[in-house]
Symmetry: C2
């Protein structure tokens, strides 16, 4: 009903200047206790709330951070967002969400919007379409701190949080080799994104190291979905030589693949072993339970957020750092 009550409204109502009101509400020492009480009483009664927009315009502080992800309804990203949001709101920050939907164009639009809204900082993970991260340099021009995670790009100099992708894929292959698998396929994403590039590098390294005859990488370029399962199946099993183990960079995709394998009566793990990134504890109840490569979601989120916070506070610090965390392999029945 009533319009928003402002500091000036309080001032005119109480026949004093708004600057006095401002100081009173911020508990400035140089306002008389008596008037301070009168003011805060009136403020409380009328439900006064500081207008953050005015504060922000004044340049006092920016209290909003932006997160750019390909899709928020994928378990990994929604976990990250959840962790960041909780931590941010503890320190009084508001978090806005932007989805690139895996497209370069939307990512560019998002960047402009973030600049227009003058966000205090940005945490981002690249879309599959973005062959480079150069459009993100715009943030630097506008003095907006940026931290990237997971889907990072090599050709832009920002702080990054990643996991030991190459290493963990070597470990994965080694694990499979030790179990006797010798035709291991790798389902991945576009290699220009650091995550996938590194995983593929690790995969190839291991294939060479263990002198495997079979090397096959299948690349998905437009986001992982369950529907891809069938396509992937065709690509893998139409050859004369078929894999006896599969490592998937995506958990969602592997659900589709499992469905397809069942239709074709291909048994897991006797006919083909399975291993996938992403632990949403659903891997546990699928039969057979799927061996998964578990990323430290919470740690990734916390690290990225703290990195960003440091940049927001200490503005002069221009150094960038890349922090690498470790993924672990949770062995289950599927291998």
């Amino acid at each position: 009903m009533s319009k928003k009550i402002t500091i000036k409204d309080i001032a005119t109502a109480l026949n004093i200047h708004h600057s006095t009101v401002s100081r009173a509400l911020r508990n400035d020492s140089r306002v008389k206790e008596e008037t301070r009480k009168m003011i805060s009483a009136y403020a409380d009664e009328h439900g006064y709330q500081t207008n953050m927009i005015a504060l922000e315009l004044r340049g006092e502080k920016r209290n909003t951070i932006a997160i750019i992800v390909p899709n928020i309804n994928h378990q990994f990203f929604s976990n990250i967002v959840s962790y960041i949001t909780n931590q941010a709101s503890d320190s009084g920050f508001v978090v806005s969400i932007f989805q690139s939907n895996e497209t370069y164009q939307q990512e560019k639009n998002i960047i402009d919007t973030i600049i227009q809204f003058n966000f205090a900082g940005v945490i981002a993970s690249l879309s599959m379409e973005s062959v480079d991260g150069l459009h993100f340099n715009k943030f630097k021009k506008h003095n907006i701190p940026l931290v990237m995670f997971d889907r990072v790009s090599d050709d832009i100099n920002v702080s990054k949080v990643v996991i030991n992708n190459a290493e963990v894929l070597q470990d994965a292959v080694e694990l499979l080799v030790n179990k006797g698998y010798n035709r291991i396929a790798h389902i991945s994403g576009p290699p220009h994104l650091n995550v996938f590039g590194e995983r593929q590098r690790g995969y190839k390294l291991a294939v060479k190291q263990f002198k495997l005859d079979y090397e096959k990488i299948i690349t998905v370029n437009k986001g992982f979905s369950m529907e891809d399962g069938k396509v992937i199946y065709d690509k893998l099993f139409s050859d004369t030589i078929t894999p006896n183990a599969i490592i998937s960079d995506s958990s969602v995709l592997i659900y589709g693949l499992i469905e397809e394998l069942r239709k074709k009566k291909i048994k897991i793990p006797s006919d083909v072993a399975l291993m996938a990134f992403g632990e949403n504890s659903i891997m546990e109840i699928i039969e057979p339970a799927i061996t998964s490569i578990v990323q430290p979601d919470g740690e990734i989120a916390t690290t990225a957020y703290n990195l960003l916070l440091k940049k927001i506070k200490g503005k002069s610090d221009n150094r960038t750092e890349t922090i690498m965390l470790s993924a672990t392999i949770k062995v289950r029945e599927s291998i």
Copy 2:
């Protein structure tokens, strides 16, 4: 490097008044084509971006909406947020995320924050702790439109988007009865939330209608999690009379229950049938595939967003409306 360039910077650089620059950039007819070109050339070159904060303070328009959910890393809510975010960004809105983490206190804090930041509108789903929605009335005082979905409250008069919860639970029970099940348990949430209250009402109605001897509702009050599975199991199977069918309001929780049932060698569906809300297509690949009650996520999101948008545009319209959408039961092997 360079500080943010403003409309005034352009003005002084070009030796004209900032008001002219403002008009030029908004393609106002009364600025000479020649100067307009000069101005927009300079603006482009220096990467000028409108400062939305200034615009917002001016009261022109608020371009941000807030979403309050218990947890964003639950499939249902991340789906909703994803849909809303995409639709919002199409119409130039920025979406901020707030998590109550199922607590009343955080919800209250969030409400204050949203008011301080002067959001244009709010879409919310209540926490389990919130026995009523009265704290949401604060939005009305501050003229901030509010739309609720899923976890709505009866005692606050706002526009709502819900599904036919009572009806679909009656259908579910009927389906089970027709298949020969006669001891059907219902795992639900706190009944003071409309969703759960309605589902329990529907359940009880059906139990009475089909003259079943067995009636059992188990209530979870602190958010659904996989870990609850064991607790629920104990509550259900410690009695002398045990259920031969279970309907769960949560999908996450049922994963934990399935794990527990397997441990105890209780077969699905021969020993006990299972049915759960939420279709994340994972239900499909669990063995046996779980019969699920599918909510129209996209439609819920779109409806809520459009309702909000209408309120934001036409400010005078004080009527509230409740829109009820239909859930459907997808029968699979688990019953």
